[in-house]
Amino acid sequence: MNFLNLFKVAFRAIGSNKFRSFLSMLGIIIGVAAVIIMTAIGQGSKESVRANIAQMGTNVLTVRPGADMRGGVRQDPSAMQTLKPEDYEAIVANKKYITYVSPEVTSGGQAIYGANNTNTSMYGESIEYFNIKQWPIVSGSAFTEEDVRKSAKVCVVGKTIVNELFPDGQDPVGKTIRFKSIPFRIIGVLKSKGYNNWGMDQDNVLIAPYTTVMKRLLAQTYYSSIVCSAIREELTDQAIDELTTTLRQNHKIKEGAEDDFTIRSQQEMMETMTSTMDTITIILVVAAAFSLLVAGIGIMNIMLVSVTERTKEIGLRMAVGARGIDISYQFLIESTLISITGGMLGVLVGWGGSTVCGLLGLPTSIPMWSILLSFAVCTLIGIAFGYVPAKKAANMDPIEAIRYE
């Protein structure tokens, strides 16, 4: 029997048992839809992480104290006091692949204006920080070199702070707020950045000159980190080398000894993040794939029932000249059609589901490979789980089959 006829026969068989065929398809539909939605969410989150990190600037480098061993005990990096003003000066003096440098110190605490208060963090930075982060001021202005030198009690604020402390909509620029009891005059408002991927509100910040934070708030002489930007994203590696050389020299680290600082680039962070997202996606897809396996078993079950039910038909077909292989093709094509049709509907449902997830705020993006993979898997399921029933049908004895009641 040629394939066109086999398809016709299979279509008819499915058509004459519409509801049953649909039920066995349902497993495939749900399985495929689940795989597609899961990969869409995985891919979507990955893309949004990439976009967010790119937005933060892919050429940003952060130097942190770390990897310091004292008597074989690794120290808590935040407790280390190895990043000093000398380091900052050396970096600025030697910069070749680096454009902007900013020491960073942070302090968490309460900010108060009038009857309103909010819990926030204050970042002490240099004026170059706004260039590194490519973070524009929307009203007012940034602090100046002069402010840094004088440790002026001025700050720029994020959108969230404005909303929390000035709920009635008055202009925050020029107002004086208190952070940890110290008055700061607001001189500028930062452009809103929204939440980052870790769920952190990037607008819940106060940024003041680093000298102010160090002297007036923390009374410390070391930095918690130094933030730099490479000339271009591609020159990140050279910039890292440059920083490493400068800092090792400054810290008098011997050849072969471990660095007492770590340099993190956004690029590296992006890789870490995307590989984490990949792992999550794989876990989700594997879970969804199990439902496809179950669906395949469902198809096998229905096909076995169908074979038994059509014993007489099989006997007749054999009597009029169907070979075993003709019969097995007939059932294989039927099971494959069920699973592929299920797969197609599943892709549609998955696409719809992803769209709904997208509307609900989850970042989604359906990768092409997940659709192709679903089809391949469905075809495979149809053949694999149709094989046993088809074999059973092909091995029937026509004499017994035709008299089967």
């Binding site: 029997m1 040629n2 006829n5 008819r12 004459s16 007489k312 038909e313 006997g315 007749l316 077909r317 054999m318 009597a319 009029v320 000249g321 169907a322 070979r323 075993g324 292989i325 003709d326 026509p398 004499i399 035709i402």
Partner: protein, 268 residues
């Protein structure tokens, strides 16, 4: 073997125009078939010898257990002999593989079953086309053409697109006969083809079989109804796996006359 050859029927009502052919369609040489049931060996056929010539209408009769069904399975190439040889249209069947026999059945044999065995929810034409589906020489157009021709031959030219579940028993059996004819087989094998039908419809079927016989088709009709033997040209009686009698019927009754003599059916 020649003693088994039927004589040309002398004074029959219908078949006077028929010319005896000497082409052997079926030849059985000492065909035996044993089944092993548990520890015992059941001898279903114990050495069957006969030849059937082209254009004969043979009834094979016997009670249940006589080996009738086993013989039918042999003739239909659904089974192979334990020993002996069966030649269908000159081809030895015993050593053939399953798929070779499937092809042989497809080309040489037309089956008519007691319970019609039509595909459900399928039109008459499509049912009749079925054997040709397994013959790659037939295109879709040729298949349909042949099926329509066969349906016309059994008097269902006006019911081509009726589905099997919209037909009466007699109509379904006619479709089945058309299906048996469509591949222009060497032999039509009917297994109790009137067993499920009432007397009136049974005679209609016999009329149809006699008409096919007149056209020169070779027919083997397996039945336990001795009445049917009167309408065939030769009768083989089986008992305990052996041929008990093999007699030509010199006086073939006309099924059409018998049908006319029947009281008209109440409904239909």
């Amino acid at each position: 073997m020649s003693s088994n050859t039927p004589q040309q029927p002398a004074a029959q009502q219908q078949s006077t125009a028929r010319v005896k052919s000497d082409k052997v369609v079926i030849e059985l040489k000492d065909v035996r078939r044993n089944f092993i049931v548990g520890e015992e060996t059941v001898h279903a056929l114990r050495g069957i010898n006969f030849k059937i010539f082209e254009g004969e209408f043979v009834t094979i009769m016997g009670t249940s257990g006589s080996g009738k069904s086993t013989l039918l399975n042999q003739l239909g190439c659904l089974d192979t002999p334990t020993s002996g040889e069966y030649y269908l249209d000159g081809t030895p069947v015993r050593k053939m593989s399953k798929s070779q026999r499937a092809k042989l059945r497809n080309r040489k044999i037309g089956f008519v079953f007691q319970s019609y065995n039509l595909l459900p929810k399928t039109t008459a034409v499509e049912n009749v086309e079925l054997p040709l589906m397994y013959n790659s020489k037939f295109t879709a157009a040729k298949r349909r053409e042949a099926a329509i021709e066969a349906l016309k031959a059994v008097g269902l030219g006006d019911r081509l697109e009726h589905k099997s579940n919209q037909m009466s028993g007699g109509q379904m059996q006619r479709v089945a006969i058309a299906r048996a004819l469509v591949n222009n087989p060497a032999v039509i094998l009917a297994d109790e083809a009137t067993g499920n039908l009432d007397t009136h419809t049974s005679f209609e079927m016999l009329v149809l079989f006699q008409r096919l016989y007149e056209k020169g088709h070779t027919i083997i009709f397996v039945t336990h109804n001795p009445e049917i033997a009167q309408y065939s040209s030769r009768n083989i009686m089986l008992r305990d796996g052996k041929i008990r009698e093999d007699t030509p019927n010199p006086n073939i009754l006309s099924a059409a006359d018998a049908l006319a003599a029947l009281p008209a059916p109440q409904d239909d």
